[in-house]
């Protein structure tokens, strides 16, 4: 392993993390819910009366975040180097996987670890392990 110190952005990463954690804390304290993006989205596909407004509002907040960010600073363009086919397969896997696993990076990762949930720790270790393994296979076994 070699660390890419030029790409390392500790201050922005930590500050962004604090914002993410604050949003999750506010959501738990005011709305009494877990800020888990896959769960919020998945609930929209299982519509229950009176349960839709807050879900739509949360998703709108996420989608509108670049607009709000642009008020303070220029929004860095995301670098999406993979092709359409891979994106479609990846999206399908993320959609099915997060629903069967009851959570993603936000629900299990941020909120679950903050709640000291063993279940979320197992989920987080599993998807991070699978993520590391997948990048290893794609970049160093297939792509080598």
């Amino acid at each position: 392993m070699s660390v890419d110190w030029n790409a390392f952005t500790p201050t922005a990463a930590l500050a962004g993390g604090v914002l993410i954690g604050s949003a999750a804390a506010v959501f738990a304290l005011f709305n009494g819910r877990i800020a888990g993006i896959s769960g919020v989205l998945g609930g929209l596909l299982r519509p229950v009366m009176g349960d839709l407004g807050w879900r739509v509002a949360f998703v709108l907040g996420l989608v509108a975040a670049p607009l709000a960010y642009a008020v303070f600073a220029s929004v860095p363009a995301p670098r999406i180097d993979v092709g359409w086919g891979e994106l479609a397969i990846a999206g399908l896997l993320v959609g099915i996987g997060t629903r069967y696993g009851s959570g993603c990076t936000s629900g299990h990762g941020v909120c679950g670890l903050s709640r000291l949930s063993l279940r979320s720790l197992v989920a987080t270790a599993t998807f991070m392990g699978a993520g590391f393994a997948t990048v290893f296979v794609v970049r160093h076994l297939i792509g080598a």
């Binding site: 993006i37 996420l62 997060t98 629903r99 990762g109």
Partner: protein, 144 residues
């Protein structure tokens, strides 16, 4: 009011994702690439988020109603089963293929990225597949 706090939480969450670099798939893949030139930034995103989250959920856990008087709906499930691990595996593979997890994909969609739209569309389709399979399983269980 819950709609407003939900919108705000989504907005701050999304701004945190942009600031931290999580909304940039190339940076996420740089973190997942342990064997390449590794960018440790995202470990600090998690540290910052969980640091604040621990505090927020420590307070939330002791409450029976939210600050807005809503019922607390924090997860009670503790099962570590095949669904949790299998789902998290699929999610991790998808995450490693594209560098997108659900939250950042929605934020990148808000930046007008066509490739993010492809991913989000596929992810919603995946969640739809989960709903169909769950309904089929529920109806065959009801018949049995």
């Amino acid at each position: 009011m819950p709609i407003l706090t939900s919108l705000l939480a989504g907005l701050v969450f999304g701004i945190g994702l942009i600031l931290s670099g999580m909304a940039d798939p190339a940076k996420v893949l740089g973190f997942l690439d342990l064997a390449g030139r590794w960018d440790p930034s995202l470990a600090l995103v998690m540290a910052g988020a969980v640091g604040i989250g621990l505090l927020g959920f420590a307070i939330a856990r002791r409450r029976t109603a939210s600050f807005l008087g809503l019922p607390m709906r924090l997860p009670k499930t503790r099962d570590i089963d095949g669904r949790l691990v299998g789902g998290s595996l699929l999610f991790g593979i998808g995450w490693g293929l594209a560098g997108f997890c659900p939250g950042p994909a929605l934020v990148a969609l808000g930046m007008g990225q066509v490739k993010a739209a492809i991913f989000v569309g596929a992810m919603l389709a995946g969640m739809g597949v989960f709903e169909l399979l769950e309904r089929r399983a529920a109806s065959s269980a009801a018949r049995a």
